[in-house]
């Protein structure tokens, strides 16, 4: 499937916050209550449409384990967007955000768009982190923020797509050098020059396994 751009994303955050479930909900539109432990890195891909352009999101889902962070770090390289996830029902996962953020900033390119995500918003009764706290953290560190639920799919599309919109804007502004693949952006094989594709919004389409 032809695309105008390919954006590389990474998903990071503590173990068990729902990184793989967010990805699965976004690519397959389903929820798996017990997901296998991610060891190393796994993949997902989906096509979205922004401003009439087909954009392929290539999403790298990393393991949350501390001991192997030096290995997962190599995946930060060349990412255009990052979803930094915590679990609103576990304060410790929120407390660890600073370390994750430092790590991400240090090992990625400085223009990487980071979206802060408070996941498991369906578990309101067990909430330990207020929405305002997430917002404040995001404001303080210049991140976009959203609360999601991989279970009910609430805001999942928006999280991935808003990040892509932000990256797209940065491309328009000329912030990203799209010819340098280290920025996590690739121009598609057939760059559609006409605006013949007018399907705005989220023409969600699953594009698993295939080659990029």
């Amino acid at each position: 499937m032809a695309y105008a751009y390919l954006f590389k994303y990474i998903i990071i955050g503590d173990t068990g916050v729902g990184k793989s479930c967010l990805l699965l909900q976004f690519t397959d539109k389903r929820f798996q209550p017990v997901h296998d432990l991610t060891i190393g890195v796994e993949f997902g891909a989906r096509m979205i449409t922004i401003d009439g352009k087909q954009i392929k999101l290539q999403i790298w889902d990393t393991a949350g384990q501390e001991s192997f962070r030096s290995i997962t770090r190599s995946y930060y390289r060349g990412a255009a967007g990052a979803l930094l996830v915590y679990d609103i029902t576990r304060r410790d996962t929120f407390n660890h955000l600073t370390t994750w953020l430092e790590d991400a900033r240090q090992h990625s390119n400085s223009n990487m768009v980071i979206m802060l995500i408070g996941n498991k918003s369906d578990l309101e009764s067990r909430r330990e982190v207020k929405k305002e706290e997430g917002e404040a953290f995001a404001r303080e560190h210049g991140l976009i923020f959203m609360e999601t639920s991989a279970k009910t799919a609430s805001n999942v599309e928006e999280a991935f797509i808003n990040t892509a919109k932000e990256i797209y804007e940065k491309i328009q502004e000329g912030v990203f050098d799209i010819n340098n693949e280290a920025n996590g952006i690739k121009i598609g094989p057939q760059h559609p020059t006409t605006s013949s594709i007018l399907t705005s919004g989220q023409g969600g389409q699953q594009a698993g396994g295939g080659c990029c």
């Binding site: 068990g16 017990v34 296998d36 432990l37 060891i39 993949f43 393991a63 290995i71 396994g209």
Partner: protein
């Protein structure tokens, strides 16, 4: 001039000597491993929970001691962190809630059994308990570190291979048994603590041994040797060694894989951490783990060590001709596990050569999940292993021959023996 004969390389270590007394698994097609019904017994010896020289009487006494010690250890962290005795549940996982129920039932039954013990047994156990208490009296825990480990274990244990029949229905309670074992291990081994992947490993022991106490001790014995695999530097080293081995076996493929966009072999990470757990069918992954744990075809097994030692001795006594008593340049860090990994890479070399970046490499590794055949992989790995040994011997002989032109005869003698043995 001596080289380690291939015969010694083929021979087995002490543990696998004992395992040979167990029925080997099934057909001639199967290369190695014991019959699954005897696996539990075999593993108690292979991993060192029971000394191979022990008698049945000694083992029953030893088992009592191990039981009491484990319980004392578990009690110790439970008293230190009473709020961690029960697993943290967020109520969203119905199966896990059932797991807790089954686990509690089992605990209650166990307690009842203890009360029903006869007086003699109870006296003996009381004495052992006292001994264990003294033994662990001085052990202290780091509060924050232990809590952090428990937090991760609570996240991971419920995600361990729940599809296995061992964890089905009432077996769900086993997830909590696994949790307790991992916490006890982490508490008493703060230098190792807990890392992801240990849950999978420990689960293998639990499934095969079906005993909390025996799993704890067998797992601990195993970790004495392999805990470094669960540290980033240890795993890095393993990945580097894999690259070095591939360079020896298939330089073209190696050169391709270390090109610009794929400078590391990180795509092998999961294979080497979990021992190909997700690549082979579950029963095959267990068998592979068993085969690797028997030091089958290891360049460091005891027999090889002994052979090398005798060669060194013989050389010292025989001629004392030169000081260049170098043995063939075998890299003994190349474990058989690395040969397995290399065999898989070489088997798929065409696909790998087509990969142009690390994205494609990782997609390729994911595509192999659950699709590999163990017997053919073992056969290929063995083939690469012997070829590697032969080549090292050849290189050594060649070098030696050039250095000692006059000893041609000797060279041909060695050469002949090399091929006769193969």
């Amino acid at each position: 001039m001596h080289i380690p004969s291939l015969k010694t390389l083929k021979s087995t270590s002490r543990a696998s000597y004992y395992i040979r007394h167990f029925k080997s698994s099934g057909s001639a097609e199967n290369k190695g491993g014991v019959c699954p019904s005897e696996r539990g017994l075999a593993w108690r010896f292979v991993f060192g929970m029971y000394p191979c020289s022990s008698t049945a009487l000694e083992r029953s006494l030893l088992h009592e001691q191990l039981l009491v010690r484990y319980q004392a250890m578990k009690k110790k962290w439970q008293q230190f962190l009473p709020q961690a005795v029960r697993m943290h549940l967020n109520g969203t996982d119905a199966e896990l809630i059932a797991a807790v129920k089954y686990f509690d039932q089992r605990e209650a039954e166990a307690q009842q059994q203890t009360q029903d013990q006869c007086e003699e047994v109870r006296d003996r156990l009381t004495f052992l308990e006292l001994q264990a208490q003294i033994l662990f009296e001085r052990v202290t825990f780091e509060h924050d570190e232990l809590r952090e480990a428990i937090r991760i274990i609570d996240k991971d244990a419920p995600r361990t291979n729940r599809d296995l029949s061992y964890y089905q229905n009432e077996g769900l309670g086993n997830l909590l048994v696994l949790r307790d074992i991992l916490i006890t291990y982490a508490a008493f081994h703060p230098e190792v603590s807990y890392a992801q992947g240990m849950n999978d490993l420990c689960s293998r022991f639990l499934e095969v041994l079906d005993s909390e106490v025996d799993t704890f001790w067998s797992f601990s014995c195993y970790m004495e040797k392999f805990s470094k695999d669960f540290r980033a530097d240890g795993l890095h080293r393993k990945i580097e060694l894999e690259a070095a081995l591939l360079k020896e076996l298939d330089p073209v493929l190696y050169t391709h894989l270390v090109k610009d966009n794929m400078e590391s072999f990180t795509f092998c990470h999961r294979w080497l951490l979990l021992g190909f757990q997700r690549e082979f069918a579950h029963s095959d992954a267990l068998r592979l783990f068993e085969i690797l744990s028997c030091d089958h075809l290891e360049l460091i097994s005891q027999q090889v060590d002994r052979a090398r030692y005798q060669e060194r001795l013989a050389r010292t006594y025989s001629t004392e001709e030169t000081s260049e008593s170098e043995l063939p340049a075998l890299n003994t860090d190349f474990t058989f596990e690395l040969f397995i990994c290399a065999a898989i890479l070489i088997e798929n070399r065409e696909s790998l050569l087509r990969c142009r970046d690390d994205v494609q490499l990782i997609q390729f590794t994911s595509s192999l999940q659950g699709r590999l055949d163990l017997n053919s992989t073992l056969k290929k790995a063995e083939h690469h292993f012997y070829n590697y040994c032969k080549r090292c011997a050849w290189d050594y002989l060649n070098g030696h021959c050039r250095a000692h032109r006059s000893k041609d005869e000797d060279f041909f003698y060695q050469l002949r023996s090399l091929f006769v043995l193969k």
